[in-house]
């Protein structure tokens, strides 16, 4: 419980930094902190395999990608990339407007039932290659498509 409190504290405060930081690179790094602490929470919630995935894919892959993105569009060409915000009040209002009914809904449920314990990677593996095979394959196609799409989108017309 304490671990959860600590991790969630870190996660939320770093998430706050993500949305408030004035430096884009900092924002990205704060996101990495958020994702790592989320992975910790995953472990607490009995999903060690997913925690690993989270660390590898997100913290390893996505953050790197993001940084590339920042750098690619960064100051090389002399264009300032500010990381400002505006309409904070409206944004906060919107966030609260979402939060209020959601929290109300969450806390109006009496009991979610007992915890079932950690899930083995093997279980997930069988699920992927068993009942969810088609979805799994579709996902791989989707990823491929996303990759190709990204390449097509950013390809320079005049190489």
């Amino acid at each position: 419980m304490i671990a959860l409190a600590l991790l969630s504290g870190v996660m939320l405060s770093s998430a706050l930094m993500v949305v408030r930081s004035l430096n884009l690179v900092h924002s990205v790094l704060w996101l990495a902190v958020t994702l790592i602490s989320t992975a910790g929470i995953f472990v607490i919630l009995g999903a060690p395999f997913l925690a690993g995935i989270q660390l590898m894919l997100y913290t390893g892959g996505i953050i790197t990608l993001m940084l590339f993105g920042v750098m690619l569009t960064g100051k090389q060409t002399g264009i300032e990339i500010p990381n400002t915000s505006d309409g904070q009040l409206a944004g906060a209002g919107a966030a609260l407007a979402f939060l209020a009914p959601t929290l109300y809904a969450i806390w109006s449920v009496d009991d979610f039932g007992p915890a079932l314990g950690p899930v083995d990677a093997k279980v997930l593996g069988t699920a992927f290659l068993g009942p969810h095979l088609i979805a799994f394959e579709a996902l791989s196609v989707l990823l491929l498509a996303a990759m190709i799409g990204a390449i097509v989108l950013v390809r320079r017309k005049d190489p």
């Binding site: 409206a90 919107a94 407007a97 979402f98 009914p101």
Partner: protein, 615 residues
Amino acid sequence: MTTAATLGLVAVLGPLVVALLLAVNGPVRRTGVGAGALSVLAAIANLVAALMLANSWWGEHELVDSTEWVWLIANGETIATVGVTIDGISASMLAVVAVVALCVQVFSWSYLSDEPKADFGRYYMWQSLFLFSMNALVLAPNLLQLFMAWELVGVCSYLLIGYWYTKPSAAKAAVKAFWMTKLADMGLMIGLIIQYRVTGGFGFHEADAVALGASVGVVTFCYFIAVMGKSAQFPLHIWLPDAMEGPTPVSALLHAATMVAAGVYLMVRGWPLFDLAEDTRLFMALIGGTTAIFAASVAIVQTDIKKVLAYSTSSQLGYMVAALGAGDMIAGYYHLTTHAFFKALLFLAAGSVIHAVHSNELSNMGGLAKKMPLTAGTFIIGTLALTGTPGFAGFFSKDLVLEALLHGAERNPVLWIPLACCLIAAGLTSYYMFKVVFLAFFGEPSEAAGHAHEGGIALSAPLVLLAVLSIGAGIPVMGALTSQWGHEAHFHVSPIGLAGTSAMLLGLGAAVQLHYRGGSLPGVAALAPVGNIARSEAVDKAWRVAYKQGLRTLAAGVSWFDRYVIDGLVNLSGVALLLGAGRLRAVQTGKGGDYVYAVLLGVIVLAAWTAVVSA
């Protein structure tokens, strides 16, 4: 099918077949001569059939034969038939039509010989169509078929008046003729509708008249409206003079002898109905009398030979209508038959003159008696018949008309008015006809008349035939008609007959004095204002105003209303929507954040909705 019905069908279908053949087969039509030959052949067949019918059944009062086919049904029951009906009236009328039609078709052959071949073929196609329509009208077994044929002859008239379609005046005259008669035909349609509502049919026999009961007055009045249009009665006569834009043989056949007489024929056919309608007949007599004198006075001031004859036709039709109005069917019908011959003769002779001098104007004629003795002779015979010179056909029939009016006036004094009108009109007729004779055939020849010469056999043969009939059709026809209805209608010298003859002699005297001797008469100058009124075409102008300022303006108003009020509302709603949408477009800022807010709003609303539903 009996012989009578078969002959009737031959008369009707022969010309129809020719007309259809020429309509469908362009190459034959465009040979011109071939088309004409076919058409004339059909007219000859028609004449033979008509004469056979007339020979056997002329004077038959009773129905001889009737062959009918179902034409319209309602709830499985017949409501209208088409076919042919042979009885004394239709047989005699058929013969009249057949004779004049053949004369005219033969005459046209020469008259229109200079026309392009295609147009020549077109002319004969329409002639055949007209002959079919007219025969269908004459032999109609009920008033509905009569009406249908009535409209068809109207169309033929439209087409033939507009034969020289490149002449704007001819095109206008054709349309005008159709409009005027169509306007009047609404009366016939209303009458038929009412008759159908009351009796469930369109018959014209005694039984139908009885079945009509109290409605007979309304129905016959409606029918008479149509008669006024077709038979060029005041004030619906204005199309007839303009119709002279057509070729002269057309004027002879349609606008003098047969088609315009269809109005009178309708009343003869539907006599059982008209016989019972006292009030309608009074109206008829008054209209007839008015037309007789009005048209005769206008004829006096015309300088165009065909217009004189046109107004004369209108005037003579007024005589027939007046006679029928006075309650004497035989007098009216008798005058119809004799008039058909002598007026056709006059038109054809006038056509012969026009053919020779290439002008309609009397001032371009003169002294033609020496150049064209046959034409002059036949024209004079026609004139004598028309003016009612004793011994000629017109004399007997006109006498009968006057007598009928006199008899009527003894019962109903109002009828003195039409009687007086007709008497005066007789004098006027005599004056303007002899004026034409003197101006065209005597005196100094004009430049154009100098080169005039008689036409060929095709031109002269019809004239001779019609001249013979104009002289001889008097007593025999009267005899036949008399025997037909067992009616006392033989000729005798009477005061009214003498009055009519005196009026005619007065007119002749005036014409001789003014136009033959070139002298003058006291009081002629005083009549100048009357002449101006007659020349003013006031009735024509009134109709033109009603059309231009009335109907056209109304139409323009309705159209404006449609474009700017009805359609305006439609457009306005469209514009309102577009402008409103323009306002609403401000919502679409194009900023990503705003769309997120919108999505969020949707999520929250959905969530709230779910909460409410589950609660």
